[in-house]
Symmetry: C2
Subunit: 255 residues, 2 copies
């Protein structure tokens, strides 16, 4: 994998060592080390090799510096990981503003859920980071998409407590689906044979049958199957808890 030399002709596939020279191109001049460059290297490492590969020493190597130098730009490793979550959430693909109709809002709700799913699937390890440190990782970049999701649920007609609950339910589903899919808990091994270590082949007939269906399914369609189910339930719930919903506002200020 090699240390990407001065002249910039390397394609950008797989270069874990990136000494990132200045635009001037002087072969010895380094771009100054910044928190952002460090965080980006950490994200790349996380996505390519998993959270365990994100060590101070390896991140240092990736930006062409000794590990100890990183401490001038991040407080410690936890701070670096907060930066990682923040960086990923800053890439959240906000969908275009919805129209006012109930159908528009439902479609927008679906789109927001899809944006969450897309963000998390692109960086599955952030689910683990959120699980471990949800409390500390509350940056604006993270809260903005949360605010949008809640705002949508309110506009769909849910009362404040119901919107909070619905957010938690759908959020659990989105998180969980990413966990199951990245752990490939549903996927079969290689052939159709033994799925575990040395299981009696017919001890789990339902599991065997289900695995074949789950493997054949498109994950996105399967996700929508569950999501639509929840969106429909929310619209029903909205009918019940509807009140003169005037003070939610009609434009999304935090976007």
């Amino acid at each position: 994998m090699g240390a990407a030399p001065s002249v910039n002709l390397a394609s950008e596939t797989e270069m874990t060592e990136d000494p990132t020279h200045t635009a001037a191109g002087g072969p010895g001049a380094r771009a100054p080390l910044t928190r952002e460059r460090i965080v980006e290297a950490a994200v790349r490492l996380m996505d390519e090799e998993g959270l365990a590969a994100v060590t101070m020493r390896r991140v240092g190597r990736a930006v062409g510096v000794e590990a100890m130098s990183l401490y001038h730009h991040v407080r410690d490793k936890d701070d670096l990981l907060d930066g990682v979550v923040d960086h990923v959430m800053r890439g959240f693909p906000f969908p275009a503003e919805p129209g006012p109709s109930s159908e528009d809002l439902a479609a927008y709700g679906r789109a927001v859920a899809h944006a969450w799913r897309r963000t998390l699937r692109a960086h599955p390890a952030v689910v683990e980071l959120l699980a471990r440190r949800g409390r500390s990782a509350r940056s604006a970049a993270l809260l903005r998409p949360v605010e949008v999701a809640l705002w949508t649920l309110r506009r769909m007609g849910l009362s404040p407590p119901d919107a909070a609950r619905a957010f938690h339910v759908i959020g659990s589903y989105v998180m969980g689906s990413v966990v199951l899919e990245t752990g490939r808990i549903s996927a079969a091994e290689g052939g159709g044979g033994a799925t575990g270590h040395d299981l009696p082949p017919d001890a789990f007939p339902q599991v065997l049958e289900a695995l074949s269906y789950l493997d054949a399914d498109d994950p996105d369609e399967r996700f929508d199957f569950g999501l639509d189910l929840m969106i429909e339930a929310i619209r029903t719930l909205a009918g019940r808890s509807r009140e003169p919903e005037r003070d939610v506002g009609t434009s999304n200020a935090t976007r």
Copy 2:
């Protein structure tokens, strides 16, 4: 929990060092080191201090032995972690067999979901283990509860592919709710003030309001809110996909 020594008078609080003497009680004689004793120590460590505390060296210390000795009973750390998942799943609290009515089956489905939730909440780190190594951790102890869940969905009238999908949807929800709750992604800090580092206090009004509701909610009730929603949707779906369901069997052979 606890080292269950010869004479049973030790209270079982917090003894991480457990030299576990033999039944004979000779103060120098050790109970033989077994895979099971090692796995139990690892589970205890995981529950009390998190997955990061489960190191070969600390597990060794917990069972009164040097780290290298563990390799006589587990192949490596991955094998130990497989053992941890297996041990936890062997504790799955299977609910009592359901009656034949649609209501009985729905209640049984709810009970199975609760058993999953209870198991995972008692050992939240296994969600992470399943996510990282779902494919390799397929022991009989893990597949048995999966088989029961699938079997229940089939008895409720779902076709095989729909049962697989419904399992995935509900499974995602169960997993995700544990992730969100153990990460306390929904809980507020201490007072009612700033929830993040230094957020403009009114940048996220929906988030602020939702947090107060989520904190006030009973997590179990909130979970049931989403679960009932899915169970109802399944019963509707079952009405659509119903066929002469004769070969599912009426007793659960894998229990």
